[in-house]
Amino acid sequence: MDLLEYQVKEWFGEIGIPVLPSQRIDHPTDLKRLKIRYPIVLKSQVHAGDRAKAGGVRIVETTIDAVAAAQNIFNLPIWGELPEVVLAESKYDASQEFYLAVVLDTAICRPILLGCQEPDVDWELAGEKMQHVVVEQEFSPFYARRLALKMGLQGALMQSVSTVLEKMYQLFIQKDLDLVEINPLAINNSGEVMALNGKVRVNERAIGRHPEIAAMAAKIANYHGTNQINARFGEWDSLAMHGRIGILGNGTGSMMATCDLVASAGGKPGMCLNLRHASIIDTSPTTFGDRLVKGLNILAADKSIQVILINLLGSIPQPKAAATAIVDFVLGNKGELPSSVVRSNGNKREHLSPNLVIRLAGSELNAAKDVLAPLEAHDDGLIVVENLDEAVAAAVSLVKSPAYKKAS
């Protein structure tokens, strides 16, 4: 999860990374009560990049100009995203600008410090200009000095840049980040450093232990609308595919293997969800059964999905409860759709409940099979298979069957 610039700067300020005086603007009229001095920079608070080119950054000298510019920015979507907030910030005269970052390299299982003597690096060529230092053992400030020296800095500037890196690392550890970036770090004529823009990526696995981040995450989810499937979809360990066969697996590997098999059998995989983990935004404890119900509802609400293929092998907690959840889903779908599935324009979608193909293997799942058997016998669009290849073949042929030709 990425934070917005103004949120990043609040964190920077708290940890002691120098940031300019700034003020959060929720509405253009807020500029009448501005506490910082002109000239100011107004910046659109969106996640998308390239906002300066798109017109999301404006320098203004007076209140009248500021209100007009803010009105403009509030109404300017950048890559489809409208800002909820605009940041007003003092202007800074930089004589030099650098790039700094701390990032977790999962391939070597260590954090890395990155630095470059120019901001806005061309990432295709970054290998030549970017310096890096691997934080092998517990962090100590010498790692930061090592990077600053590799960047070619000396004396007081080397010291002040490495102090910023040290603070970035503290923030990285304290808030469980995947990335903290300052781009650019500006240096003025007297050698003072200033973080002009920053980026923070929070690790999704750790959100639950930071109540303030969990609250931010919930707000982001709400802002994007609880009815939008994409918003909910993004909270899961998942693959965003666009075919007609939705996939639920109990584990990343299983989910991906099923997706591969569907594709190689000539089918088009749709959304694939891993049921082994809870949603990263919903931090309340869940059970496998809860996640199964949610997963089924998410897939059922995707109008392009005609068949849901569930691959369960070996041990799942409470197999009987899981099977009951599937039965409830099938029976529930024969009647009215749950209200959460009704689309935002208020129209119920033309209802065609997806068929279910369930792959169950393992003696622990026998109880689940017993629960599902009566439904299967009544031909309620439910197929239970033990062999994975057969389950995939069944799902693929269901999509191709004439009954679905009329589907939207």
Partner: protein, 293 residues
């Protein structure tokens, strides 16, 4: 590795991913489970195991412990593992999934320094079919034999084991090293263990997108492994992972290939190492039989 039935085993925590069934299964398999550790529940019995508040209390009572199986809440995994290390336990299996990566970084630094073997997180553990079960692997899919399995995915480990069993190929040792982004032991460590294991004649390696451990394994197989190896990589259809930047991640900075982490990159590495790659799990037995000739 102490993978014998006399090895003393404890369980730390009884969170979501372990149940009475798992524990009964381990006991039925002959695993020497001596106790559970669950802070606040000392003195009780959970799933027929005596429970203690601290690992060191178990050591005081039963002597040195060989293996701990950690099933606490993911946010308590680091603490539980550090407690186990402090009590002299050198084999740690972490079943819990979703451990914050920076906790794993810290644990790995400690484990590497003390030569502790950490399997997982997000792992169902290790099974030596017919002999010992350390974790939650469903033993019903296994049969004793000579094929070693090392995998990065839990369910795919059983998937492969079952395909082998159906094809009449038994298994010697099967381990899932865990499917989280950062895990303890590596493919290299397990290839080495399986290569040295007398009962293993051939190896199946199961990989998935992310990181570079399959590529490293492919190079290692060329250099150091004499036994036949067959690979299966899930995730051919998976779109490239969420990266820090679309155009260049750490890849360009630290000099990795542009398709780093993809299934395609891993498959190419195995092909270059002349390791047969199965297109789907059900084709593994056939490739193995050919390779074992």
């Amino acid at each position: 590795m102490n993978l014998t039935p006399d090895s003393k085993v404890i369980i730390q925590g009884f969170y979501e991913f372990i149940s009475a069934t798992h524990i009964a299964q381990m006991k039925a398999y002959g695993t020497n489970l001596v106790a559970g550790v669950d802070p606040g529940c000392g003195g009780q019995e959970i799933y027929d195991l005596p429970v203690f508040d601290l690992v060191e209390e178990v050591v005081d009572k039963f002597g040195a412990i060989d293996t701990t199986i950690i099933c606490v809440h993911p946010y308590q995994v680091l603490d539980a593992a550090l407690e186990a290390i402090a009590s002299g336990i050198s084999q740690i299996i972490i079943i819990s999934a979703g451990v914050p990566p920076l906790d794993m970084v810290q644990l790995l630094r400690k484990a590497e320094a003390g030569e502790t073997l950490v399997v997982g997180p997000n792992s169902p553990g290790i099974i030596v079919p017919g002999k010992i079960l350390l974790g939650t692997q469903p033993s019903e899919f296994y049969t004793p034999g000579s094929v070693g399995i090392v995998s990065r995915s839990s369910t795919l480990t059983y998937e492969v084991a079952w395909e082998l069993t159906k094809a009449g190929l038994g298994q010697s040792i099967s381990v899932s090293i865990g499917s989280d982004a950062i895990v303890g032991s590596s493919f290299l460590q397990w290839l080495q263990i399986l290569d040295e294991d007398d009962s293993t004649e051939a190896i199946v390696l199961v990989g998935q997108p992310g990181g570079g451990s399959e590529e490293a394994a492919a190079r290692y197989i060329t250099e150091a492994i004499d036994k036949p190896v067959v690979a299966y990589i899930a995730g051919r259809q998976a779109p490239p992972g969420k990266t820090w930047r679309q155009t260049g991640t750490l890849v360009t900075v630290v000099g990795r290939p542009p398709n780093f982490g993809t299934a395609q990159c891993k498959i190419a590495a195995f092909e270059a190492a002349e390791v047969p790659v199965a297109e789907r799990p059900s084709l593994i037995p056939e490739l193995l039989k050919k390779a074992m000739l």
